[in-house]
C-alpha cells in the first residue's frame, strides 16, 4: 500500500536521496476561513519545485521563495499571511483568512 501520490514527505525523501536541498513548509495555525487545515505541508526543492499545498494556491509562491532562501542559508522562519498584513494581501490570501506557515530546511 503506497502512500498517496504527491505525498510531500515521500517526495521530500526522494529529493533528498537524489542530493537536492529540500525544505518543508507546514501550516501551524489558521484563523477565519483558510483553505488548508493545520498540518498541511509543502515540500520544496532547491530549484523551486514543490509538491503539496499550504493554501488554495494563494501563498505558495511566497512560501517557495522563502523555502529556497532557507535551503541556502539554514535556520527556520515563521511566515504570517493574512488580510491585516498589506504584504500578505499583496501575495493574495484573498479568502480573507489568516495562516501561519513554518518553514524549515531538511538537513542532508
Amino acid at each position: 500500500m503506497d502512500p498517496a501520490p504527491g505525498d510531500p514527505i515521500a517526495v521530500a525523501a526522494r529529493w533528498r536521496a537524489a542530493g537536492l536541498g529540500v525544505a518543508l513548509a507546514t501550516v501551524v495555525s489558521t484563523w477565519g476561513s483558510s483553505p488548508r487545515p493545520v498540518g498541511s505541508q509543502l515540500a520544496v526543492d532547491e530549484h523551486g519545485n514543490f509538491v503539496g499545498s499550504v493554501s488554495g494556491g494563494c501563498i505558495e509562491g511566497a512560501v517557495v521563495e522563502t523555502a529556497q532562501r532557507i535551503i541556502r542559508q539554514g535556520g527556520v522562519e515563521l511566515l504570517d499571511f493574512g488580510v491585516s498584513d498589506d504584504d500578505a494581501w499583496a501575495v493574495g490570501l484573498a479568502c480573507g483568512g489568516r495562516v501561519q506557515v513554518f518553514v524549515e530546511r531538511l538537513d542532508s
Binding site: A10, V38, G39, L106, D107
Partner: protein, 253 residues
C-alpha cells in the same frame, strides 16, 4: 529538521506506525513522539508529552495549548501528527475498481484490491496496487479492517461478495458499501441473515453503493462511491440506508 528525525518519520510510515513531531517554532528544535518513546533535541516535560500523545491518538495537529498563551513570548510548540493513511479495500478487480483505485489514492487512501479470479486481478489492469488474488474472507481475516478502513464490495457475484460482507459487517470498518440494486440487496440481506448476521450488522451496508448522482459510467460510479465514503468519514451528509426512490442509484443492476 535533523536528518535522523526525518528518517524516523519516513520509517514510521513504512512500518504503519503513527508518529508526531513537536517543534519549537522559535528555534526549530524538535522532538519525535510515539506512543512509547520521545527522542530529539527538544526536551518536553511530562504534561507536554501527555498532551502531544493525546493529539497523536486523536490525529489532530496543532499548537500545544499550554504553550499557546495569547500574546505570550514563551516557546510556541507545534505538534504535527503523521497519521497513517486510511485504507480502502475493494473486493472485485472490476472496471469500476480500475477507476476507483487511482481516485482513492489521490484522496489519501492506501488501496487494496481483492479478487480470487486471476483473470481480473492482474497488475496490467491495476498497476501499482496491492493486489490479492485470494478469497476476500481469507484476506480480511488475516489483515482485519479497523475503524480507519472502508470496504467497497463490487463483484456483483454472491460467491465472492457474501464472504467479504460476512467478515466486514461485524467489524469496525467505518464504511461498508455493496454494489447492486435494491432488489439484489434485499436478497443479499436474506442470505446473510440466514447465515447469522444481525439486522444491525446488515444495516451497516450502504446499498446501492454510492451517492445518488445518476452515475452511469464506471468512472462516474467510482466518483459516487468515493463521495459517499468521504461523506461518511467527514460527517458531511446523512447517507445511511436506502436512497430516495426518485434518485437513480449508482450502479443499479
Amino acid at each position: 529538521m535533523k536528518a535522523a528525525l526525518f528518517d524516523a518519520i519516513v520509517a514510521a510510515g513504512r512500518r504503519k506506525r503513527p508518529v508526531a513531531t513537536v517543534t519549537d517554532l522559535n528555534d526549530g528544535a524538535q522532538a519525535l513522539v510515539t506512543a512509547d518513546s520521545v527522542t530529539g533535541s527538544l526536551s518536553l516535560d511530562a504534561a507536554q508529552i501527555a498532551e502531544s500523545r493525546a493529539m497523536l491518538a486523536g490525529e489532530a495537529s496543532g499548537l500545544l495549548r499550554e504553550a499557546a498563551s495569547p500574546g505570550g513570548d514563551g516557546p510556541r510548540l507545534f505538534v504535527h501528527v503523521y497519521a497513517l493513511p486510511r485504507r480502502l479495500v475493494i473486493v472485485g478487480a472490476v472496471h469500476i475498481a480500475q477507476a476507483l483505485a487511482p481516485m482513492a489514492r489521490l484522496a489519501g487512501y492506501a488501496v487494496q484490491i481483492i479478487d480470487p479470479r486471476g483473470a481480473f486481478a492482474t497488475h496490467a489492469r491495476f498497476p501499482d496496487c496491492d493486489l490479492q488474488v485470494a478469497w476476500p474472507d481469507d484476506v480480511l481475516r488475516n489483515s482485519p479492517p479497523d475503524s480507519g478502513t472502508a470496504i467497497a464490495v463490487l463483484t456483483h457475484d454472491p460467491k465472492i461478495d457474501d464472504p467479504a460482507l460476512r467478515v466486514a459487517c461485524p467489524g469496525p470498518a467505518f464504511y461498508i458499501g455493496a454494489l447492486g440494486s435494491r432488489r439484489t440487496h434485499a436478497k443479499r440481506r436474506e442470505r446473510l441473515a440466514a447465515e447469522g448476521l444481525t439486522a444491525a450488522q446488515l444495516d451497516r451496508i450502504h446499498a446501492p453503493i454510492g451517492l445518488a448522482i445518476a452515475a452511469r459510467s464506471p468512472a462516474e460510479i467510482a466518483v459516487s462511491i468515493l463521495a459517499e465514503i468521504t461523506a461518511v468519514r467527514r460527517g458531511g451528509v446523512p447517507v445511511a440506508g436506502p436512497q430516495a426512490a426518485s434518485a437513480t442509484p449508482a450502479a443499479a443492476s
